[in-house]
Symmetry: C2
Amino acid sequence: MESAALSIEFQMSLLLFLSLAGYLLASRINQSATIGAILVGVLVGPSVLGLITYTDFVQSLAHLGAIILLFVIGFEFNIRDILDLRYGVIGLVGVIIPWIGGYATAVLFGLDFPSAVFIGTALTATSIAITANVLKEIGVLQTGAARAIIGAAVIDDILSLLVLAVATDLVVSGDVSATSVVLMLVKAVGFIVVAGAVGYFGIRKAIQRMDATPLAQKYPEFVFIFAMMVAFLYAMSASFVGLSGIIGAFLAGVALAGVELRQSKGVYEGADYFQIVFASIFFVSLGILADIRALTSDMVLFLAALTVVAIVTKVAGCGLPARLMGMCREDSLIVGFGMAPRGEVAMIVALIGLDSGLIGQSVFVVIVLMSLLTTLITPIVYRNWFFRGAYCAVE
Amino acid sequence: MESAALSIEFQMSLLLFLSLAGYLLASRINQSATIGAILVGVLVGPSVLGLITYTDFVQSLAHLGAIILLFVIGFEFNIRDILDLRYGVIGLVGVIIPWIGGYATAVLFGLDFPSAVFIGTALTATSIAITANVLKEIGVLQTGAARAIIGAAVIDDILSLLVLAVATDLVVSGDVSATSVVLMLVKAVGFIVVAGAVGYFGIRKAIQRMDATPLAQKYPEFVFIFAMMVAFLYAMSASFVGLSGIIGAFLAGVALAGVELRQSKGVYEGADYFQIVFASIFFVSLGILADIRALTSDMVLFLAALTVVAIVTKVAGCGLPARLMGMCREDSLIVGFGMAPRGEVAMIVALIGLDSGLIGQSVFVVIVLMSLLTTLITPIVYRNWFFRGAYCAVE
């Protein structure tokens, strides 16, 4: 064990050191910590310095990180956010248009079918975390446009996970007939409905009952371990039925969102501590994986085109429905640009594609960089063009 | 990644499920959760059911678990507990006598030198957690005898880690001359003093200063990530100078014990959540590793002898100094039996020996089972023999 032991301790301290460097960099360039971690990963990885490589251990940690990240994102999910029909329309159109845009752009640049499907899928997801953070930083989280963005982004994330499920199935089976697409859609929706119902009506209740037992009084950590087990069990079940594990983890988080415990240690709090460590490692490892030397000049052109398409399709796909449903022009644009940042979900889509061998290294790098670029652009647009004067009401 | 992904999710949910089963078993048989987890591990491991084996991933997690466990134990360490000379004497004699007893018993049973050294070392450590828990359950945590036990157990743990450091070095180098033993002792003490001083006067202060910066205000998780990095960095440094990684993790915990943060997320709280998950996994994995089929009838006899020696040497080694320093007969026996439970440190010693190839499977199993047995006996002795009437004052 001596060398393995040294290795684990060494890798853990190095990865955490790099996360910290990511925070410092993010703070310096005034960007989110996620971007800082990825940039540090790119810097120390084979792209630039070549100081660190992607070991099996790092891969396992990053995989844990993606699962825990989606579990925690699920926790922050508010079921009321998706009950507003307007947000639903904005979210739905804002998934369809970017998917078509991404797919078409990839085909235009001569990429193969699996790559085009993954690129389309990567374009669908809006990063709730990044968008909400930008809105919070600018101090406009309470406006109608901001609420529309967050509501639509939540719906967006669910639809993206659905698209991911269908897309992966589609590419793996190679069967693109209408029947099979419908079947996959039914399977994915079926899993989401069944797992969601079991989680919300079964496991959530079970946890609350568990919390009231003498066992929970004696062992306040029992419920927390149970909740973590549920997250991994859900991830496993999702994998088992052919969906991505992160969909399961997300559903587990949604099922437990806002659960109130009296005797036990906080489930959300504990999961958040795990997310702090493992999501940081996940983002650093994404940067390490994103070997920008894999980009040919053709791919750089493709990256530029895809980034423009990514922004335009979200601005149009979300802004237009907003305008049609009665928002003023400025608010509609605010919603459109607010939906533009892709984030962790797009990157996880890319990682799933890469790890399963369905997309190549260069497509992976393009998706990660596209995701980064869309994230950088929104705050700039917001700070310079919007939120300077008054804006119209959404209600 | 598909199979590896399934595997990680599957292994995590299975291990957490087994931890939960350990809690249920512990609660049923009225023992600590640690014992429950180990027994469940034995049950599902190759010993009995053979449902699960010790994979690389499980090994990595268990290794993380040992490091985080000692980090958290370090946190609970109170520097004032070792400043009482009486506790120091009880702790010191209570390390020397059991070491000699364990070593002699092993030699008597014809075991080789490395095994004898590891067995002696495993007999030195008292489990603070288990002892304190038993005292708490019986409701006598505030008596003088209880305070003596806890104070001496803390000193005991530090001395045990020191003995582990010297013993490992001794066995690896094979050089048992007095000069080399002294040199190793100097190296181990040197590391503890230097790392302790750097930690307490450098890193502790750095964390407090960090906590006051705008960065910590913006990112309340920054200090927590930093503290976790320090734990692994210390573990790595200890490995680097030839000591066990857990010694470093323990020192990192001691250095940060009781540090007060104003803006940042709680370091101790977060580390404790990690400990809940990873230490559970660690104990389950110990049970899985402890393949009791490795025990020949000779080794069963040895186990019985060693367990008796383990209890007698602690009762004598700690009870006698207590009596000589003025405690009454009953309190001295209470102290002696209170120091008898070995626990996580003894098991980690066994795991280090096994992983480094210095001890065999059967010796590993003997140490784990001896550690379990000593833990089972103390509560029985306490509940039936002591704490029934009045006892004398220690002061």
